[in-house]
Structure formats: C-alpha cells, structure tokens
Amino acid sequence: MSENRSEANKDFEDFEGNLLFLQKIVNELENQDSSLSETIQLYEKGQLLVKQCNKALEKAQLIITKYEKI
C-alpha cells in the first residue's frame, strides 16, 4: 500500500459524515436565517468539504489485503 493511496483513503474515511454535513450546510444556507458572518463561514466550510470529497473521489484506489489464517 503506497503512501498516496492511504492518504487518499484517509480523506475519505468520514465520507458519510462529510456528505451529511454538506447537506446540512445547504439546508442552512437555503434557510436564509443565518447572519452574514455565519453564512460566509458556512459557504467556506462547504466549499472546503466539496473540494475534499472531490479530491478523495478522484484519488482513491482500492486497497486489498489478505487475511492469513493460522
């Protein structure tokens, strides 16, 4: 397993959590109730997560290991 492969998969470890968080960000942004600074923070966080998720999706490679029975 190369360093890059493990890094890419590390980015993806909490993909489900990131996706849920992104959906929450979309909901909050659509809600329009947040203050300007909160909205900017949400937007920046959302952009960062989108970037991370896309990076993980582009770079990930299947890791296969074999369990050796004793």
């Binding site: 890419a8 998969n9 993806f12 470890e13 993909f15 489900e16 996706l19 992104l22 959906q23 960000i25 979309v26 942004l29 659509e30 329009q32 300007l36 909205t39 937007y43 959302g46 952009q47 989108v50 998720c53 896309n54 993980a56 999706l57 990930a60 490679q61 299947l62 890791i63 296969i64 290991t65 074999k66 369990y67 029975k69």
Partner: protein, 399 residues
C-alpha cells in the same frame, strides 16, 4: 370511509404487499397438476396445482420453459415461482419459474423441512435483518482466493467504489471442509472486526457444490454474526438457506458487490449538485442581504457624523462647567483656609501671651483652670511670653 378503494388500487396495493415479502417472491410448491390442457396458442401454459383440499392457478410463460420438465394433468410436480394477483381477474396465481417432475428428492425434502424449522424459529424474519452501511469503509470478503467470484467482486468494487478497503479471508467454498472453513471465517471476521460488512460469496456450481450453504451450521453462524452479512451465492436461480438468513442477498457475486457499494459516479454527481446548491444559496443570500447592508451603510453615514458633532459639543460644555466649578471650588477652599489660619493664630499661646494672657500651673505641671484646684499657701508658676513668675497663693476669692 377512509378505506374506500378503487378495485385497481386495491389490487395494486395487494401486489405491492406481496412484492415486499421475499418468500412469496421465491417459493416452492409441490402438488398435482390439474386443469392443464396443453400449451396455449401463445406457447404459455395455464394450469392449476392442487393437494387434497385446495388448489392454486398457475401461469408458466413460454420464456421460462427452458430447462423445465414437461408435465400433464395428474403429474406430481415441484414448482418454483412467485405469487401475484392477476389484476384483470383479481385471481391469485403462481407465476412459474421452473417445474420439476416426480416431486422432491430426499435431500430437497430435508432442506425444506430445515427451512421451515428455521423459519419458525425466526431466523429468516425480516425484522431482524440489519441495514447495510451506505458507505462501508471495510468489506470483509469470504470466498475462495482463486475463484471467478473473487475476481468479479474486485472488478465491480474497483469500478464502483474504490474508496473502500477489501479484506479477503481465503476460504474453501465447496467440498468436504467447506462448512467448517466458512464458519471459521465468519468467526474470525467477527472476532477481529474485519469489516463493516461481510460478503459471503461463490460463483455458480452444481446443486451438490452449493449444498454446504444449506447447512444448519453455516445458517446459524450467519445468524449469529454481529457484522451484517450479504450473500452472493451461485446464479440467479440458486436459493440457499444462507441467502434466506443473510441480511441482504445478491443474486450473484457481481450483484452482491453492487448492492453493498454506492456508485462513485453517483457520488460525484451528488457532490456536484451540493456544490451548485451551496453557490446558488450563497449568491441568493448575498443578493438578498446586500441591499439591506447598503441601507444600513447609508444610515450609518448619515447618523454618525451628526451624533459625533453633538457629542463633541456636549464634551465642550461639560469641560466649561467643570472649569468654572473647579475654580470656584479652589477659591472657596483658599478663603476657608485663610479663616482657619486666622483662627489658629488667635488661639496660639504665644500670641495670647503677647496680649497679656498667662498660664498658671502647679508643681505637678497641671494647668490651673479654677481656684478650687489650689490650696492657700500652694506655690504656683505663672507662665508669661518672656518668662516665668514663681508665686504663692495668699488668698482665694470666689467671684
């Protein structure tokens, strides 16, 4: 009348209920053929199958005939198929997938008895089936290392979801030691927490090859597994008891690999959709808020200079008042001090002596303030500004 239905919607609802029951979608029935009058013009076969008291209508479409036995009225047959309600007549019917003549063999009867016993025990209950994680991080694959099943699984998961980790436990998937080895692998996967999902899979084979997956031992190990198990055993038509007890069943190794992994292309689309939504919402927010911000800015520009001007004026006034008050206070204080100074000078002993006043004290240095403090003949000192007079009391005259 809450429960008022159109006939069509009632039948559609009933068919939908049937669709949700996996057992009704894949059942085996043994009985005697009746009402069969040969294939229809379309090539489909219509007949009924009955036991001593009851019967059910069957339809056997032409496309499903391949590999099935021919039969006539009165034949004992074993049918595999699914239950449905034929809407145009409202009749319950069995849509036949395959027919075998001469009824069940001994092994099949034994498997069916075991199936019924385990079902009765609740091992196949839908309620106990667990959800499969949508985004598994590690999938433990129990299969033979040099099998087409393993190759298919790797291929599918590489294409669909290369973000997952696969851990293979090489396992004998047929033959004498298969049951023991499969159970051991399930046990290892659980004890060492080797995945979020266990994929138990092998490719197609003869009935004999697949027979271990009908064993009670493997079924019970699958049932006891803490990690959800998905099966992909044999081909589409193969049904083993392991498939019944599994949390989810794929029809083949490829099918099983598909149902446990999301498609990376769907994920990319979803992320892209979310990204667009974020940008759209943010833009909308700004478009909505910027005019408000502009309004506030103009308001501030108008209000603040005026307020500051007023404040500066107030401060000037306060400074003026304070200056006045302070100087008046200082003058008053100086005057008071002068008065106090004058008073002190009046009462100063030296000053008083200069004016002719004197202090009288006895030999104990006590200042004498009354004639009652002295006796006749007592010696006293009279203190003057320039010296002391020693004197003696001749007489006391009370005034």
């Amino acid at each position: 009348m809450k429960n008022l239905f159109e006939v069509s919607s009632l039948l559609a609802n009933l068919n939908s209920l049937i669709d949700q029951n996996i057992y009704l979608k894949d059942i085996w029935i043994q009985g005697e053929v009746t009402d069969y009058k040969g294939p229809a013009y379309s090539g489909h076969k219509y007949f009924s199958i009955k036991d001593e008291n009851n019967m059910i209508r069957c339809v056997f479409f032409k496309y499903a005939h391949i590999g099935s036995d021919d039969f006539l009225d009165g034949d004992k047959i074993l049918i595999n198929g699914e239950i449905e309600i034929y809407a145009p007549t409202g009749n319950l019917q069995l849509k036949v997938r395959s027919v075998k003549k001469h009824g069940l063999g001994d092994i099949s009867i034994e498997i069916e008895r075991l199936r019924q016993r385990l079902e009765h025990e609740g091992l196949f209950a839908l309620a106990r089936k667990r959800d499969i994680p949508l985004f598994p991080q590690t999938i433990c694959v129990i299969t033979s290392e040099n099998s087409s099943a393993w190759e298919d699984i790797k291929k599918v998961i590489t294409m669909r979801y290369p973000l997952v980790k696969l851990i293979l436990i090489p396992t004998l998937m047929q033959g004498e030691n298969c049951i023991k080895d499969v159970c051991n692998s399930i046990d290892i996967a659980n004890k060492e927490s080797l995945g979020d999902i266990i994929l138990l899979s092998r490719g197609g084979g003869s009935e004999e090859d697949l027979m271990p997956f009908n064993s009670e031992k493997i079924v019970r190990f699958i049932f006891a597994s803490k990690i959800p198990i998905v099966t992909g055993i044999g081909h589409e038509d193969d049904n083993t008891l392991s498939d019944y007890v599994a949390d989810k069943r794929g029809l083949t190794p490829t099918g099983a690999a598909q149902i446990i992994t999301p498609d990376i292309n769907d994920l990319k689309t979803e992320i892209n959709r979310i990204s667009l939504n974020i940008q759209k919402s943010f833009k909308y927010y700004l478009e909505f808020k910027v005019p408000e911000i502009e309004k506030v800015k103009i308001k501030l520009q108008n209000i603040y200079p005026r307020k500051i001007e007023i404040l500066i004026r107030n401060i000037d006034q306060i400074e003026f008042i304070l200056n006045n008050k302070l100087s008046s206070y200082i003058n008053t204080t100086i005057n008071k001090l002068e008065v106090i100074k004058h008073s002190i000078s009046v009462f100063n002993i030296t000053e008083m002596s200069k004016k002719g006043y004197a202090l009288v004290e006895n030999h104990k240095k006590t200042i004498i303030k009354s004639i009652n403090q002295v006796e006749k003949g007592e010696k006293l000192k009279i203190l003057l500004s320039d010296g002391i007079l020693n004197s003696k009391v001749e007489n006391k005259i009370k005034e």
